[in-house]
Amino acid sequence: MPAPSPAAVVHRHHVTQLGPPDAPALVFAHGFGSDQDMWRDVALRFAEDHRVVLFDHVGAGRSDHAAYDAERYASLDGYAEDLLEICEALDLRDAVVVGHSVGAMVAVAAAVRDASRIGQLVLVAPSPRYVDDPGTGYVGGFSREDVDELLESLDSNYFAWAAMMAPVVMGRPDAPHLGEALTASFCRLDPDVARDFAQVTFLSDSRDLLPRVSVPTVVLQCEQDALAPRAVGEHVRRTVPHGTLVQLRAAGHCPHVSAPEETAAAIRHHLLGAS
């Protein structure tokens, strides 16, 4: 299959760019249940001196929902390929990819596949496998029963998920510089896509990719993260060849939302070549 044109990629992912185009590039990959808007309080802190690239995974936010292909996105590979296509379309060099949650594992998969345009990874609340693996002593935080329950709820909670994913208008009088585009909606996700994405996210096992990451990798670990416990962050840091773990004071799974200042500072502090 021929690579899609840069314009097609930009449209497909509703790619948004902030900051000077010739500055070092920072690409933000969102996780499950969210979209690029979730990054804004962090992203804006880099817009002055970085080329900030925001995008939505296909099926989320303002991406081209018609481009959703259940086959392509049946594994994280499809998402990773998208990420590489975005780097290619924007002709990024040595980009720092900041991925949250499953977006972190998408970044890992992309870097393993082709690191020619990626210079560094920042993984926010990553988990290469959510389910415990008693065979190897790996603790992902979710039991087998949890997973069965999740699968069941994926099926029976359709309307709940649909309602939760419905667009919400958000006004941010405190951040008028965000502009119209960033305030029009909040994290829309097609409920059917959400179902697929949840399966891919919570059933995937990307542990074997970690040793194959060739670029420097920073893990941002939160306190009391219900989805990615501390042991998981430790595992990631231990397993990637060039890993650093940063323990945030922020609690929960979304430090970029609950503690954007701390999160942005941690990222900036660990950027390669940061002054």
Binding site: G31, F32, G33, S34, D37, M38, D41, S101, F142, D146, V147, E149, L150, E152, S153, L154, D155, S156, N157, Y158, F159, A160, W161, A163, M164, M165, V168, M170, R172, F186, C187, A198, F202, E223, Q224, A226, L227, A250, A251, G252, H253, C254, V257, S258
Partner: protein, 625 residues
């Protein structure tokens, strides 16, 4: 199925469920709790209000930990205060809701300040799940979250009903789509091998040809198994099928990624792939090698080779309409895909003609007559086996009355791409190669069968059937037994079959021919000398070979009304024939003057366009116009 009223009656829980919070009012404006509710009740009055509130309330810290709950929540869920306070709010939710709340609900609450009527479930102390609607606000000063939970059991039931209906609809849609897909698949695929069939391949091919031609050219590789018929004939059709399936699997395994493989018919396969001209050799050789290894069928080791023809699309093919098609003697109505397939097919025949187990490339405008002849021969061999030959019949009439007394059977070839070919296009080639024996045998069989069909038709009539016999046929020792068997099998009286033999044929091996004619005559057949006057018109053979009929060559008949010498020759022939006591036939009669001239000379029978051109067989014998 439970009816709606019954379900409604069942809705309130029979067991005591203390202080279940009421369902929310439906007016959206009223749904949200007041944003100014106190996070930590200051006065005893407010404290009592907080605990007695009709809804379950929680105060949650910005990072999701429960700070406080009211008694309504504890009564509803059965949790103890100490178990809840300080723990993560998301832990109160089943895993699916927990994930969604952590990844979506909480961030939304943080960023936008509120959440309205989110449907979820809350886990009770005993594991029971309580369906609920969650609304929440974020208090700006403290960042604390005030969460209200409304019971939504009934709404949940409706949702599950709706969901079940949705799933049923999806299932039935999926089933319909699957059935349609299967039907579509059947139209485009070969049931034996699962490969594309001709229709499917052409569809892919036309699609590929429609693509911009910036890549390698679309190339068709036409593959015909050598010796497949032998397997089918000797080991049976089941083994033949097994061989085809095995061949399909081997071809598939030998193909590069992205190549399409089809079974067109019988033992013919085709590969469709984009590849550079330089890559053709490797692909063709890989395919030949893949098929060359022996196959064990019914315990017998069979070695099958293949002949391969390759043709690649060029600009002329894609752009070409009628002009390009005519170049290839093809049908102007065919699309570029069919044209390309036909070119590969022709190249395959060249491979067969070159000795099989090899491959040949299509060569546009190729003019090597030897190769063309071999190609034609190979195609003719297939034509005989696959029923592409036809017989047309030209009436033989009495010159005087115009009454039809018989017909001459004339072979035609319904060529798959070149249309209906007259014998002049292929009989010489057949004659040179010996294939004429098979050709002749087919013609005899079909002509005799037709004569019998006409005779048996209620409105039919017995006719004399004249069939041409070649020199090679005549000296073939199998001719006499073949004809004997044929007449017996079909039940045609021998005297109704006329064999037409050219002078040339008689003179090639006179002794053998003489013996054959003697035997045939003994059977009771009629023998005619065809094209009389054009070959070795020697009186000797008229004396030695006892014949029943002379057919005066059309060239003399054509000139007899304008050239006195032609007239003289025809007159002599008629005189000679009558003198020997044989029937005389004038061939190629095209107009009334010629007919009148023949009648005047006393010629017995005539045939030609004046009476009728050769026509395909109808239910009754053809008539003369």
């Amino acid at each position: 199925m439970t009816s709606a009223p019954e379900r409604a009656a069942d809705a309130p829980p029979a067991a005591p469920r203390p202080a279940a919070p009421p369902r929310p009012r439906t007016d959206p404006d009223d749904a949200a709790p007041p944003a100014t509710a106190p996070a930590a009740p200051a006065s005893p009055g407010a404290e009592a209000l907080w605990h007695a509130a009709p809804c379950a309330h929680l105060v949650v810290s910005a990072d999701g930990a429960v700070v406080d709950v009211n008694d309504t929540f504890l009564r509803w869920t059965g949790h103890r205060r100490d178990d809840v306070v300080g723990s993560d709010f998301a832990r109160l939710l089943p895993v699916g809701d927990r994930i969604l709340f952590s990844t979506h609900g909480l961030p939304q609450l943080t960023l936008t300040g509120r959440l309205d009527e989110v449907a979820l479930q809350v886990r009770g102390a005993d594991g029971t799940r309580h369906a609920a609607l969650l609304s929440a606000v974020r208090l700006d000063e403290s960042g604390l979250l005030l969460v209200a939970l409304f019971s939504a059991a009934e709404r949940r039931r409706y949702e599950l009903d709706l969901l079940a209906a949705r799933r049923r609809a999806e299932d039935s849609e999926a089933r319909i789509a699957e059935a349609e897909a299967q039907a579509q698949h059947r139209v485009r695929h070969d049931p034996l091998t699962g490969l594309l069939n001709r229709t499917g391949l052409l569809e892919v091919l036309e699609g590929e040809l429609g693509e911009a031609c910036c890549e390698d050219p679309v190339t068709v590789v036409y593959i015909d198994l050598d010796g497949f018929k032998t397997v089918n004939d000797s080991l049976g059709h089941a083994s033949g099928d097994e061989l085809l399936v095995e061949a399909a699997a081997r071809l598939r395994a030998a193909l590069p990624e992205g190549a399409a493989l089809a079974r067109l018919a019988g033992d013919e396969f085709a590969v469709l792939h984009r590849l550079p001209a330089a890559g053709v050799r490797f692909l063709a050789e890989d395919l030949l090698a893949a098929l060359a290894a022996p196959v064990v069928l019914s315990g017998v080791e069979v070695v099958v080779s293949a002949s391969i023809g390759v043709a690649a699309a060029d600009d002329e093919l894609v752009a070409g309409s009628g002009g390009a098609a005519r170049d290839d003697d093809g049908d102007g109505a065919e699309g570029p895909g069919e044209r390309l397939l036909r070119r590969a097919d022709a190249a395959m025949y060249r491979a067969k003609a070159a000795g099989r187990a090899c491959w040949r490339r299509h060569e546009p405008g190729r003019g090597d007559p030897t190769a063309d002849r071999l190609l034609l021969l190979e195609q003719l061999r297939h034509a005989i086996a696959e029923g592409q030959l036809r017989l047309h019949y030209q009436p033989r009439v009495e010159v005087g009355s115009g009454a039809v007394v018989g017909v001459e059977a004339l072979v035609r070839w319904q060529h798959p791409t070149r249309g209906l070919l007259p014998p002049s296009e292929f009989v010489d080639v057949a004659e040179d190669s010996g294939l004429v024996r098979e050709l002749g045998a087919w013609v005899l069989e079909e002509a005799v069968a037709q004569a019998v069909r006409w005779e048996r038709h209620p409105d039919g009539a017995p006719v004399q059937m004249a069939v041409n016999v070649s020199a090679r046929q005549l000296v073939d020792p199998r001719l006499v037994p073949t004809i004997t068997g044929l007449l017996e099998r079909h039940g045609l009286p021998a005297h109704r079959l006329v064999l037409e033999i050219t002078e040339t044929a008689l003179m090639r091996q006179p002794e053998v021919a003489l013996a054959a004619l003697r035997d045939l005559r003994a059977l009771g057949l009629h023998l005619a000398v065809d094209d009389f006057g054009t070959g070795y018109s020697s009186f000797t053979y008229l004396k030695r070979f006892a014949v029943d009929e002379l057919k005066i060559d059309r060239s003399f008949v054509a000139g007899m009304t304008t050239d006195p010498r032609d007239h003289a020759i025809v007159a002599s022939c008629v005189g000679l024939g009558h003198a020997l006591g044989v029937v005389v036939v004038g061939e190629g009669v095209e107009d009334g003057q010629q007919r009148a001239a023949l009648e005047e000379l006393g010629c017995d029978l005539a045939q030609g366009y004046l009476f009728s051109r050769p026509v395909p067989p109808g239910p009754v014998p053809p008539t003369a116009g």
